[in-house]
């Protein structure tokens, strides 16, 4: 470890030792560390005293910060309104902030102005010595030799086999991460919608009379039987598949009807799954003039006038349409379940209907 002095630039090559292997490599040789420039506080006792006072002041500020924290904690009465909470939060934050900054800045200022600022030089040790490497290699050889693992392939191979198999039970026990009775992909093909299930408003649960929907309006809808599902989690999971958006437009604006879907709408009222076919966010925004539905997550845009075909964004399929009609009392009801799985595409989704349980 060497330390450079206050020397003259042409004489300060002391820290570069012969054998560093770079002499003559570059345009000039390493001139060594520049001379140390003393700071004001090193030479002027007044400046030194001033630094000392500054550091102490910073520590005092820290103490004041802690006091501010106490005031915020005890003096602010939390009440119903957010105002008191905000005030308390600010006092706590600023208090802790001062308490910490005071200590931090004080110590750093101390280190910068009053502690020695000589740069020191230390040698890098080579990572290993050749003699030691040989010794280590010898040790490993001896260990392997004594264990006999090389000479006894039977032991080695059975050990490898056992070690590979032994973790499997722990992996297997993860199987019950999903303990549901209807385990498998089949459940993803169905929702709570069925023939005759009423469309009700979300979240009030009131049924919807077709005549009450004005042209250009949109509403968030759930199946009436959703509230019969017991348990919060189960209800949310069912709801995640069954949420529907109902819009009403001028029947003449509907530009496209696939054969077989003629009776899926009712007098310009058209319903679709609200679960985006991209990765599943709720498609919640409806623009009445363009009949476009927008998913806020990645901005897939679907055209309600063209059977919810994708007009922009990353979604790969139209939103599934829910066939609807009205019942005897004039309330909107579903004609059937969706005729395809709702939501994001998954590997087992496929295009066909092996069970034949979709009637489209």
């Amino acid at each position: 470890m060497g330390e450079h002095g206050h020397g003259d630039p042409t004489e300060s090559g002391a820290v570069i030792k012969a054998g560093d292997g770079e002499s003559g490599k570059y345009a000039i040789d390493n001139p060594g560390l520049p001379p140390h420039r003393p700071r004001v506080a090193d030479e002027d006792p007044k400046a030194e005293k001033r630094s000392e006072r500054q550091v102490a002041t910073l520590f005092l500020i820290s103490i004041i910060g802690t006091v501010i924290f106490f005031i915020g904690y005890f003096a602010v009465e939390l009440s119903e309104d957010l105002q008191a909470l905000r005030l308390q939060n600010t006092l706590l934050g600023v208090g802790v902030g001062f308490a910490m900054l005071g200590i931090g800045l004080g110590v750093v200022h101390w280190a910068k102005t009053l502690m020695p600022d000589h740069e020191l030089v230390e040698d890098r040790k080579p990572l290993r010595k050749e003699a030691e490497r040989q010794e280590a290699e010898q040790i490993i050889d001896d260990v392997l030799e004594e264990s006999g693992i090389k000479r006894r392939p039977l032991i080695r191979n059975t050990l490898i086999g056992a070690a590979v198999l032994a973790p499997l039970p722990f992996v297997l026990t993860l199987r019950d991460l999903d303990r549901s009775e209807d385990f498998g992909v089949e459940r993803m093909r169905h929702s709570m919608w069925d023939e005759g299930v009423r469309l009700v408003r979300d979240p009030t649960g009131t049924p919807i009379r077709a005549a009450d929907i004005t042209i250009g309006s949109a509403m968030h809808v759930i199946p009436e039987n959703l509230r019969e599902v017991s348990g919060h989690a189960a209800r949310l999971s069912e709801k995640a598949k069954a949420v529907v958006l109902v819009v009403r437009m001028n029947p003449d604006d509907i530009q496209q009807v696939t054969p077989g879907r003629e009776d899926w709408t009712y007098d310009g009222i058209i319903a679709c799954s609200k679960v985006c076919t991209h990765v599943g966010c709720p498609v919640a925004l409806y623009e009445r003039h363009t009949h476009h539905l927008l998913c806020p997550c990645h901005q897939s845009t679907f055209d309600a006038a063209q059977e919810f075909k994708v007009v922009f964004g990353p979604a790969g399929r139209p939103l599934p349409q829910l066939p609807i009609t009205v019942d005897d009392e004039g309330f909107l009801v579903a004609r059937s379940d969706f005729t395809e799985p709702v939501g994001p595409t998954y590997w087992e989704r496929g295009s066909t209907d092996p069970e034949g349980d979709y009637n489209a």
Partner: protein, 574 residues
């Protein structure tokens, strides 16, 4: 077996026991030392040298924010209950009273409204998390651009990459815990992306959520990951990371007095320790002030998770931005042709969600290349030496340009993650921004590459200028014979050395292997090597420098008293 079994003398054994400390402190330290051997630690670390530079600070910031995360996070666990059991909210926030919600959300609200300092701690935790990932990212950029990942530090670079991924995982699992609308939709997106993975994806989702999304299991599971598994891994990785830093000793920037064989800097005690320790309090203080004054993730505004509502314009945490953005960039259809397709199989076909899968590719490639970059670069350059002196970014133009291109690529994805905000802020069409970004994501990195390389090369040329002709003093003088010219001052040796001490190897060309054959991979390597090192600017050589001095000597316009001694020392060393 071992050659180093020395014998200790009887006196050495007795010495330790007979030592009588004189002072009180001496007695205490002696007590500890005799039991755990503190002498060795103090001798090893007490005066260990650490180079100091402001760019070495970011790793420290990351470490300190992690400490703050642990402290504030522990506080939060005392009140937060990750259960998804349903409850009716009856806390003090009036607008949500009487609503059915999960216990997780209810306790997160209670923590914010009814526990004094709870809101502060939650905000501190969130801000610290943002800073944690931010500091790690900048630290990695610093390491990349200065070439600090080169031998012998390749493995530590990998540990760093793993830390970054763990940081992202910690962030995401934490973000999902409060179970309000925002985090629920975040989970929904994860669910959708998982389901897109061929063959195993659907079941991964089932196993994570304990059935169909959202179910009643996922939050406690994420909680265990968030407060135990991930922090434990991060702690282990940090320990390994720091251990390796000590083993390798820190890198240093090139400069006078610095060589590959030494470390120049401040000793741990007292200066470095004081600065680093003080810096922890500064980071803490800044985070505390921010948490006290800037609201973050006001979860009472969102309401309990429900699959139906969604927040438009809601922003995910910044580090999730690129993932979100790249999903937005991808079109689902090209014209009228859907990219999604079904593989016909006897059992009814399997769907491939191409619009979700394709964006995962650049992200996966980016992370993979990041992990193995030290080996890629070493293979291309054929450089097998140890490096403890950092590169100035300009002196490795191709690497710097690659870095800039990757950063650009990342930033475009990130910008796309906020394209809705950009659109409303600057009154642009959202769709136009997306169309342009689809072009930009390919063109932008190329432009960044070319530009950065040019800039590096011209900076290198400027360095050569300075070495050969000195600094322009900004003074025009008239020579005796009437010519005008600008005065130049020669830089000192200390400055010169920094400008000339770097290597800029020529492309090496294909090397035959042991059998004297040039393999096809070797040809590829040679081509990449050519690309990596072409258009190089060489450092000023000794001959050029001497010539410049000679020139200076004959002309009358030179300035600066160093010149004479320069000549002497250089000629002497020849």
């Amino acid at each position: 077996m071992s050659a180093t079994t020395e014998k200790y003398t009887e006196a050495q054994y007795l010495e330790a026991e007979q030592y009588q400390p004189a002072t009180r402190t001496g007695r205490i330290t002696n007590y500890v030392d005799q039991r755990v051997g503190g002498t060795g630690i103090v001798r090893e670390f007490g005066r260990k040298i650490f180079p100091d530079h402001w760019t070495f600070m970011f790793g420290e910031v990351a470490l300190y924010s992690f400490v703050i995360l642990i402290l504030s996070g522990t506080f939060l666990t005392f009140w937060f209950d990750p259960s998804m059991a349903s409850t009716r909210y009856d806390g003090s926030y009036a607008p949500l009273q009487g609503l059915e919600m999960s216990t997780a959300y209810a306790t997160a609200l209670e923590l914010s409204f009814d526990v004094r300092g709870g809101l502060f701690m939650r905000q501190l935790h969130h801000w610290a998390a943002l800073l944690f990932v931010m500091a790690m990212s900048i630290h990695m950029l610093r390491v990349f651009f200065t070439g600090a990942f080169r031998k012998p530090r390749e493995l530590n670079w990998v540990v760093g990459c793993a830390l970054l991924i763990m940081g992202l995982a910690a962030g995401f699992t934490g973000y999902s815990l409060p179970d309000e609308v925002l985090s629920g939709n975040g989970l929904r997106i994860i669910d959708g992306m998982m389901k897109a993975i061929p063959v195993v994806g659907t079941y991964m989702s089932f196993f994570l959520f304990g059935g169909e999304f959202p179910g009643g299991e996922v939050i406690p599971r994420l909680y265990v990951l968030h407060i135990m598994v991930i922090p434990a891994l991060i702690l282990v990785l940090i320990a390994v990371h720091l251990f390796m830093v000590v083993t390798h000793k820190h890198t240093q920037y090139p400069g006078p007095g610095r060589t590959e064989r030494n470390v120049v800097g401040y000793p741990v005690g007292p200066v470095y320790a004081a600065k680093a320790g003080g810096f922890f309090f500064i980071v803490f203080g800044i985070l505390a002030v921010i948490s006290g004054t800037f609201q973050i993730n006001a979860l009472w505004n969102y309401g309990p998770y429900d699959p139906s509502p969604v927040q438009a314009g809601a922003q995910p945490d910044w580090y999730i931005g690129p993932f979100e953005g790249v999903l937005r960039l991808m079109p689902g259809f090209v014209g009228e042709i859907p990219l999604e397709f079904v593989i016909p199989t006897p059992w009814g076909g399997n769907s491939v969600a191409t619009p979700v899968l394709i964006p995962m590719i650049p992200i996966a490639v980016m992370f993979l290349v990041m992990f193995i970059w030290p080996w890629i670069e070493a293979w291309i350059t054929g450089d097998k030496k140890e490096h403890h002196i950092l590169d100035r970014p300009r002196n490795a133009p191709t690497r710097t340009a690659i870095g800039a291109a990757s950063v650009t690529f990342y930033c475009i994805m990130w910008g796309m993650g906020s394209n809705d905000l950009i659109a409303t802020h600057f009154m642009l069409s959202l769709n136009d921004i997306t169309y342009w970004s689809r072009v930009l994501i390919f063109v932008g990195p190329v432009i960044a590459f070319v530009l950065t390389k040019r800039i590096c090369l011209s900076l290198q040329r400027k360095d050569r200028e300075t070495v050969l002709h000195g600094h322009e003093a900004g003074v025009i003088e008239m020579l005796p014979h009437g010519e005008f010219r600008e005065k130049h001052t020669r830089p000192s040796d200390y400055e010169l050395y920094t400008l000339v001490a770097f290597e800029s190897p020529a492309p090496s060309g294909p090397q035959p292997n042991a059998k004297g054959k040039i393999t096809r991979t070797e040809k590829l390597r040679a081509r990449l090597n050519q690309w990596f090192y072409q258009d190089r600017v060489e450092p000023v050589s000794r001959e050029e420098y001497l010539e410049a001095l000679e020139h200076d000597h004959h002309g009358d316009g030179h300035e600066g008293g160093l010149e004479a001694t320069d000549r002497r020392s250089i000629e002497a060393s020849h």
